[in-house]
């Protein structure tokens, strides 16, 4: 297989684009995909300070490196979940990555907040992943707002976005459908949320990470249920295989024709958010979800 642009042997074949690239041309393609996404959705400019959520996985580290290469002012934020072994290894990957490349990094330790995930798991009788996700998003938002960042960037790729949109569609979850996209504006206590990798597949971000020599965290979290998302991803890979381009057209079609309708409906019927009585984070109840988890953990500690 030859590179479409320069005809040397290809390293990355992309059936969705009916093409293949050598290493250098793939990296040019990747960079353009990110730059176009940022510009087309007015995510941020080179004047903005951008906070990048770094889990230690291939997507977030690739995003950080690409944005930095494009000349954007990026700072990484790693939330240390306090899970034995797994969190230590993820944090070491993030710290090593940022130190080697001279990138700015902040670390938020959940243990210092009294919210280490193993403790939360023991104290709260709900699936730990939904709470873990809530806690991470809470601190991403808090650090972004308090640090005066214009945007909070996450490494969600096309496969993540399609799997999530598909799950929301299967449930016709109006609230989520009105509120999913690569660029969500800052409003009512939330920082602007952006996903500059949303046009790139999981395969493409993995290839980028490999070709750029990124040492990323590869082991699954011990609490990972092997979520149904993975099942949906499989389904979508089948569809994409039979009909290349399905993922992009499903997602872009939604952004253009689906989301506006759901968003309009949400504006009429959606509930309003007010600041949490304890911490000020936006919530539809008196206390935000994280403060309620905190209460449960404190009660658990008292036995």
């Amino acid at each position: 297989m030859k590179c479409r642009r320069c005809k040397v042997p290809a390293e990355v074949a992309l059936p969705s684009h009916n093409t293949a690239f050598c290493r250098d041309c793939f990296l040019v393609y990747f960079s353009r995909q990110v730059e176009n996404a940022v510009r087309r959705h007015a995510m941020f400019t080179r004047k903005d300070r951008v906070l990048v959520a770094l889990s230690g996985g291939k997507d977030s580290l690739s995003l950080m490196l690409q944005l930095s290469d494009l000349g954007f002012d990026v700072t990484g934020l790693h939330v240390d979940l306090g899970i034995p072994k797994s969190s230590e290894s993820a944090r070491a990957k993030v710290e090593g990555f940022c130190a080697d490349r001279g990138l700015k990094l902040q670390v938020k330790e959940l243990a210092a907040e009294g919210l280490a995930i193993p403790l939360v798991k023991a104290a709260v009788h709900r699936p730990v992943c939904s709470i873990c996700g809530k806690i991470k998003r809470h601190f991403f938002n808090k650090v972004a707002l308090e640090g005066g960042f214009t945007a909070l960037a996450t490494g969600h790729n096309l496969d993540d976005e399609v799997a999530r949109l598909f799950a929301n569609t299967l449930r016709w979850d109006q609230g989520y459908l009105g509120d999913q996209g690569p660029c969500l504006p800052d409003e009512s206590g939330f920082a602007r949320k952006v996903k500059p990798l949303y046009r790139l597949s999981e395969f493409e971000t993995a290839a980028f990470a490999f070709l750029r020599g990124i040492e990323h965290h590869k082991d699954a979290c011990p609490y990972s249920p092997g979520a149904s998302f993975t099942g949906h991803k499989r389904l979508w890979n089948d569809l994409e295989w039979k009909s290349p381009g399905s993922k992009v057209s499903f997602y872009e079609g939604f952004l253009e024709r689906g989301r506006p309708a759901f968003a309009a409906q949400e504006r009429e019927s959606g509930f309003t958010l007010t600041p949490c009585a304890k911490c000020g984070s936006p919530t539809s109840q008196e206390l935000c979800g994280v403060c309620r988890v905190r209460l449960a953990v404190e009660a658990f500690g008292k036995g």
Binding site: E11, L14, E202, F203, A206, F210, F229, K233, E240
Partner: protein, 65 residues
Amino acid sequence: MITVRMEPGGEVKTFAQLNTVQQLLNRLGLRHTEALVIRGGRLLTQDLKLESDDALTVRVVVSAG
């Protein structure tokens, strides 16, 4: 003998007879957009021939949500 190290997990598999990357992926039940096939610091496209003493890494890229 072709040796394949699987990621994540680190399991090592060996194959006596394989001609191409495509055949390897078929045996593993993977599509070529679901895994990186790595040999000596390079990525291999599915059409490439394998040598009988190749040591490869197959990095599955599909992650949980």
